[in-house]
């Protein structure tokens, strides 16, 4: 579904990713772990082609389409979603209207209003998001936890083929992490895939993960299964840092 080949990415003058290779098949959950500054968030942003980052080399193919140089909105319409570490606030646009509009843009079809509202309410309930929150301005005055849950709500509503969750678990309490995990479980099926980017392992306790990749200094230094995450939890990244 997603294949990243030999990807080099800069942020301004600074070289961040130094030859990433990653293949994700449908039906899989992947995790990228790594210490701060290792290039995790850059990887996510590079897949969505954030203009703040410059690709120097390599390619990204998604579902048979080369998305390396596509615009962010085109990549999103191809079926890639990213949950932001720091979601932006949009005053004056309610969560419900924002999502209705986004859904229309992603699918290219008119949104059936009542069906959409029912679906939105259903997901909100599952994620313990208050119904009145749906009528508040997007992310404005939301707590950290509310913002993250709202990102998961967006993922469920927009129903992408690949969901990239950038530090969605960071800063959340135990209950909120459970809710987020539940959201991921609701989303996940045999036809889609999830890429979780995190620097801790809490969220992995309640999810069945297929692959864990360790990212250090812009390179994937080790790939393994869920046990690799447990090892990191115990011993940290020190061993990999030294190469």
């Amino acid at each position: 579904m997603l294949e990243i080949k030999d990807l080099y990415v800069n942020a301004g003058e600074k070289e961040i990713l130094k030859g990433i290779n990653l293949k994700i098949n449908k039906g899989e959950i992947h995790v990228i772990m790594g210490p701060n500054g290792s290039g995790k968030t850059t990887t996510a942003n590079a897949i969505l082609n954030n203009p703040e980052y410059q690709k120097k080399q390599g390619s990204i193919v998604f579902d048979g389409t080369d998305i390396t140089d596509l615009k962010t909105d085109e990549i999103a319409r191809n079926g890639v979603f990213m949950s932001f570490q720091l979601p932006e606030e949009i005053p004056g646009v309610t969560v419900a209207n924002f999502l209705k509009y986004a859904k229309n843009k992603i699918t290219g079809k008119p949104v059936k209003v009542f069906q959409f509202k029912d679906e939105l309410k259903k997901y909100a309930k599952e994620l313990k998001i208050k119904e009145e929150t749906l009528e508040r301005s997007l992310n404005v005055g939301f707590s950290g936890g509310e913002k993250k849950k709202n990102e998961i709500l967006q993922m469920l509503v927009l129903n992408p083929k690949l969901a990239i969750l950038d530090e969605t678990d960071s800063g959340l309490d135990v209950d909120a992490i459970k809710t987020v995990s539940k959201g991921i479980e609701m989303f996940k099926n045999e036809e889609n895939a999830v890429l979780i980017i995190t620097h801790n392992t809490k969220i992995l306790h309640s999810l069945k993960v297929d692959y864990v990749h360790i990212l250090v200094d812009g390179k994937i230094v080790k790939t393994g299964t869920q046990e690799l995450a447990s090892e990191i939890e115990e011993n940290g990244y020190e061993k990999y840092r030294k190469g």
């Binding site: 203009p51 703040e52 615009k71 909105d73 999103a76 005053p91 646009v93 209207n97 509009y101």
Partner: protein, 466 residues
């Protein structure tokens, strides 16, 4: 990031030019003879003719403002101050000439009258061509008519209030207005009468190289209430047109008035309008103002809170595009105890447009325990547009609560990236941000104008407004 265009207002509807087909157009310029001729044409009573001549004297003595946008391109010698359309005022649309009626049709006025208004006045160039109000309001003693009829039929009420709230020596363009005023609306709501459905006057300037100087005088008597809507537009010509209207609002004790304006003049218009309200005890005036058109606008509605416990709110938005300099704001004078004012002003500038928020908050020594909360926010859509805030705060007593908050912002690349990651193009993303920014104001507008504003921002985001 590549440059994004937020569309200009689709001006098609506004830009329809009818033939400059008038019954009478006064000679261009501003002399005693011209004023006397104008007064004769309008069949003024003596007191009004004298009033005009006195105002002309004041006009000749006053200087152009030394602050704000440059008005040097205005040459009163090139402006015809009076253009009488080829029709008399009527109270059925059928009697309005076809080309004029069609214009108002396209502006949606007769339709709105059927669905959401209790009364309508329509002015074309210098004279009101249509005026009508629902029967039940007439029975309750509400008066809603053109200003000329009011001068003839309600001389006492008019003499008592006409240019008393806004005296002719206020500034040069008020003096000009006093000399050449024509048309406009007069409203009187008797004590205790609540007018639940809005009244609307629409001002259309069709004639090139001319001016519109309508006078709006509204008296909401004790305990009464009213929502009044004012709309204005004009097609674009190459030479400047001038609008120097005057609005005087008297909101008596315990009364309520909401005054909504959507100004969509063409971009050759100098909009030098003056609006003022005098507010009685425990009374309230709320201003809602959308300023989209004009080449230059200098517009600072003012509330004078004379009665104890009186209140005012101002909610306004300006949108300046290429070649526009919108110098708008709000003034409030707190003259009594326990008064309050709330200001929420926003502006958007793009393509080199300039928006300035210019304001005055004066809280007098006698206005103890008063409160004023001012918030103004500007959004610039590119690096060539300008935005400024020029507040004057004159607080003369300690026992007040006063705050002024000003924010000037741009749309961040991060926000655009976030929205694009949700499938929106860069244009969609910017439009959504702009619409969200404008929403707190647009939700205060009458529904049809909120819709108009949606068109303005040219976005198909369904259901966010109204």
């Amino acid at each position: 990031m590549s440059k994004t265009q937020i569309e200009d207002i689709n001006r098609n509807i506004y830009d329809i030019k009818n033939k400059d087909d008038y019954d009478y157009k006064i000679e261009k310029g501003l002399t005693k003879q011209i004023i006397e001729e104008l007064s004769k044409q309008k069949q003024d009573p003596d007191w009004m003719r004298e009033f005009r001549l006195k105002a002309l004297d004041v006009y000749n003595k006053l200087q152009l403002p030394t602050w704000g946008p440059d008005l040097s391109e205005l040459d009163m010698g090139e402006i015809a101050t009076y253009v009488r359309p080829k029709t008399k005022m009527s109270n059925t649309w059928d009697d309005v000439p076809d080309d004029i009626k069609e214009t108002f049709d396209k502006l949606g006025i007769p339709e709105a009258e059927k669905t959401s208004l209790a009364g309508v006045g329509a002015q074309y160039d210098s004279e009101v061509v249509y005026h009508s109000m629902k029967e039940d309001l007439i029975k309750q003693g509400v008066i809603y008519t053109d200003m000329e009829t009011a001068v003839r039929e309600y001389p006492k009420l008019v003499k008592e209030h006409f240019m008393k709230c806004v005296p002719v020596h206020d500034h040069k363009f008020v003096a000009l207005h006093g000399a050449v005023w024509s048309g406009g609306s007069f409203v009187y709501v008797p004590k205790g009468v609540k007018v639940d459905i809005p009244l609307q006057s629409y001002f259309r300037l069709n004639s090139p190289e001319s001016g519109q100087f309508e006078h709006t005088l509204i008296i909401v008597d004790e305990g009464a209430s009213l929502h009044f809507i004012e709309g204005c537009s004009a097609p674009k010509y190459n030479k400047v047109n001038l609008h120097a209207g005057c609005v005087e609002l008297y909101v008596k004790d315990n009364a309520y008035l909401r005054y909504s304006t959507i100004e969509n003049w063409s971009k050759n218009m100098l909009n030098l309008n003056t609006k003022k309200a005098i507010v009685g005890k425990n009374a309230q005036v709320d201003w809602v103002s959308g300023s989209f058109g004009s080449k230059i606008s200098m517009l600072y509605p003012m509330s004078i809170l004379n009665g104890e416990g009186s209140k005012t709110e101002f909610t306004g938005i300006s949108f300046a595009g290429k070649g526009q300099n919108l110098d708008n704001g709000f003034k409030v004078v707190h003259n009594a105890k326990n008064t309050s004012s709330v200001v929420n002003a926003k502006s958007i500038s793009k393509d080199g447009g300039t928006c300035t928020y210019r304001s005055l908050v004066r809280i007098g020594e006698n206005a103890k325990n008063s409160k004023s909360v001012v918030s103004c926010e500007s959004l610039m859509l590119d690096d060539i547009s300008k935005s400024d805030t020029i507040p004057v705060n004159d607080i003369r007593t300690d026992e007040v609560e006063f705050s002024h908050e000003a924010k000037i912002g741009k749309i961040s690349d991060k926000t655009i990236f976030y929205l694009m990651s949700r499938g929106m193009s860069e244009e969609d993303a910017k439009a959504m941000i702009v619409r969200g920014f404008a929403y707190p104001i647009s939700k205060e507008l009458p529904v049809e104008y909120a819709v108009e504003m949606n068109n303005l921002i040219n976005l198909e985001l369904e259901g966010a407004i109204g």
